[in-house]
Point group: D2
Chain length 311, copies 4
């Protein structure tokens, strides 16, 4: 399908259901996509951080994007992460994602290597030149240890290198600079500014963001769609109440014991446990070397679901 | 060949020569290997950070390890980096490196993801279980933003998970804890402790390290072999003089203008410029999105070579 | 005066005007206080980061708090930073600030030392036990390299250790957790949650914050008072427009050349240049070792003022 | 006394004994100084990180430097830390330390504030201009979050701003650059390069350092004096054995439970527990808000002492 310019609304970063032996669980993935589409989301983002892209082999990544694009079949746009260390490796991911029919790719700054603002800019320009589909920047300093400056993003937007930004930096002030700049700078048109900060989606939309990419929307897509619609209607009080309900639900990501596992194991483990408990996916396994939630921790996730009326 | 336990001596991390269009330059790579072997190095390490592994597609990585293993043909051991974000992706690299005949693989802590000491340990255990060849830990916090604790390394050494450590942390005190522990803890045998800190190889060998993995040995392998032999002979004064000569030569890595490029572009660019100027490789290109040295910067590299009597 | 519980509204962090030889310029400080009070601000915060507290000797700090408390004479509450590395040193600052009549003190986590969550909690408990006036936590990880977790803040609020939070972390999601918790947790009453993020004050107030501590309010206090009133009236569209105007004005903080000076020199230098150009203070000097803005950079500040109708 | 140029040998950073109510325990401090002097140390460093300077009020700092200078009475040089955030605050500490008779002051880069290389250089120049005694740079990035570059240190050495460097960065390669530069650059004379890395003192001396500032020398000054003398005699094998014995003793700094306290509480707590167990000081208390070692943890410290033949 044609990518709307700008892309707006709720764009869940789709979790990747795995079998007990850590292969992609295709039937569960298809059910998860249906679960999201039937809630009315506006697009899907596969192979991002919430999809455990960092944990998926190239073969599994390709299977994910092919499965989702094929199942969605043009009903909504599908964005695909092309997460790797540098330009040449990213372009290999871009190639199969575009071949599978993804409508855009989402690309971080280089990582692992020591990089430099000039190299970050060059990276995006080279990727965009060679990508058959539009390129979104993925600003995720917690993963890549580089923050994309608003100035760079706007420069790349203005010259047509970037079609959008998925901001997971948590820095709302910098985000606002991009939002405002994208609206006011001459030469920028149709640039999509999306927040990945699922706990302040109302704030992001209020200041002019185009949409949101909330990991928690895997668990409660209806909630985020409702939140989005309330914001668009300007009903800020109801939006805030909905957002606060979702913030409470997000508490599930702290279910895992920090003495035993990291934030990814706990957070993605909780999302998958919730999807399992809600009957969407067949197995809550996360990819290796993440640590699994215990039974008691999984029960705690269930309590969050119950408190939110989702179980 | 059988990997010596412990592996000792000079183990250059082999640069990856590229053609002007950034394909692996196989003839130059073969010449570089000959340049290193004829200097008397003890083993080779391909696909590490100095090899620009982060910038090489899987196809190029595979070509590098196949080329080097085949050309070396058992004369010295070949270690291969298997640099990727998490266990499943690392194992894909381990598979082709082992199939190509690498004698060991070198693996970092997980990166990009938020990780946890328990997950780092699990990562190494899972990789080692499934690797057909011995596993070295690659401690490189500047790249992966996690420091491997000496305690963890020694625990994994003691249980047979790890065969060695390549330490690029720059933390000599922690390194010493591993060196001393590897010698004194019951149950650890043949564990190889290698420093990646090319400017203090004499210090590392003096405190008991088994060997060194100096990036600068691409440019001056004879110097590092000489340094290693002087240290083994206990001629510390001559060793220090040789090390200081190499430290001066290392100044070339600062040739690139920091306003225009990052440390990797400048450092690896200087190594490749030096290999080009010395006639070892056909083209000094570094991988994208790194920035190339200017002509004036390349001339500066030449001056360092001349001052060291290498041009 | 009695501190309102919670303290709400606009609480400018008062700049500290200096003479050309870097003594406190008392007449300018008094004029600045008048400039703020006449705009209708709700309280004042002296000796925070925007006040260059880190650059003021104890004698100058004492003179600042005495001057401001005495001149304000109870018209609004005065909060005073007690910025130092650890408990005993902080308590020395608390003593003179309280003696001068400050209504509350504002205290960061320990810094310089390697600290621990248990030690951070102990720090606040010890300070609060021995402080004659209420204690606000100052969450400023960019300065102290520790983030106060929402859980800790709420625990300390619940037990009566803390009277409020001044959040300069830029992490709106964590801030929201405190805001919501302060409203809903049993046992927390009158706790004041203030944002220091001057570019998203509308967002912070919309999600329930009590007030703001915007450095830029030194330059345009009327703007922030207007913004606060619009938010309280629920006129979010007008609030957003006012906030965006202030964001544009904030551009002045980038006036200093980053090749020549740090962010503090540029940002505080711009605020002081603006106050000088507006005729509020007699000299735009910043404290040592900060670097002064050039004439051209100062002119640029003037252009921001002119664009905002402030010159 | 006149400060030797360069200052060489063992310069313990003197712990600050406290009474149970956290006042400076002057008799214990005097005994500690005697314990160090009788071991043959070459100078003393008071009010550094190991002295808990960050935790001492100005009054206590002044008492420490006056007590030590007066008791030492010129037998060895006394260096005094002047640890504070910026130039004006540092100069207040310089003033009383110099008035007390300290032979030099030791000054870090600015902290708490966002700083810049140009501001760091300006800081040292301003302090040196106004200090009545020579200034040493204190490179301690773990505390101040800025690394002093070897280039800057050598530039400041060459122009006479700095008289020496106390390096606690743990970066031996950068340290070596300073050591070598101080010996070879025209215009640098008598500059003293001291390592604070107590676990690699042999390495530092082998590569040409002038001396060491080892925190553990509080506990075992004879060991470090012996180590220093062995290094100067070129008996590297015996030096290494002595250093390894001291490394084993250093294990005591891990006695504190990391779930309950930070590295400073554990490390300085262990040093003070050891001094208490050895009968040098009257009370092992550390300053607030540090957490005390438990009885079991203190016993563990005792075991390290016993294993080293020190109890």
């Amino acid at each position: 399908m044609t990518l709307p310019t700008p892309l707006t609304g709720v764009v869940p970063p789709v979790c990747t259901p795995l079998t007990p032996d850590r292969e992609v669980d295709v039937p569960s993935l298809v059910r998860l996509v249906d679960h999201l589409l039937s809630a009315g989301v506006d697009a899907l983002f596969v192979l991002g951080s919430s999809s455990e892209a960092a944990y998926l082999t190239d073969g599994r990544r390709r299977l994910v994007v092919e499965t989702v694009v094929s199942h969605v079949s043009g009903r909504v746009p599908v964005l695909a992460g092309a997460i790797d260390m540098t330009t040449p490796r990213v372009l290999d991911h871009v190639a199969y994602a575009a071949a599978a029919g993804a409508d855009a790719v989402v690309v971080t700054a280089p990582f692992y290597t020591r990089t430099h603002p000039a190299e970050v800019a060059r990276h995006y320009r080279l990727v965009a030149e060679r990508s058959p589909v539009p390129v979104f920047a993925y600003d995720i300093p917690v993963a890549v240890h580089t923050k994309l400056s608003p100035e760079l993003v706007l420069e790349l937007a203005g010259e047509g290198t970037l079609a959008g930004l998925k901001d997971s930096s948590g820095d709302l002030a910098a985000f606002r600079t991009v939002v405002t700049g994208a609206r006011t700078r001459p030469g920028i048109r149709g640039f999509s500014v999306l927040t990945g900060s699922e706990l302040v989606v109302d704030s992001a939309l209020a200041l002019g963001a185009d949409g949101a990419v909330p990991g928690l929307a895997n668990v409660d897509p209806e909630g985020y769609v409702r939140l989005d619609r309330l914001c668009r209607a300007g009903d800020w009080a109801a939006a805030r109440a909905e957002q606060e309900r979702l913030c409470a639900l997000f508490g599930m990501t702290g279910a895992g014991d920090p003495a035993r596992m990291g934030g990814s194991s706990s957070g993605l483990g909780a999302f998958k446990a919730a999807l399992f408990l809600r009957g969407v996916i067949a197995c809550p396994a996360t990819a290796e070397p993440q640590v699994a939630l215990s039974e008691a921790e999984t029960e705690q996730v269930g309590k969050y679901l119950a408190a939110a009326g989702l179980l």
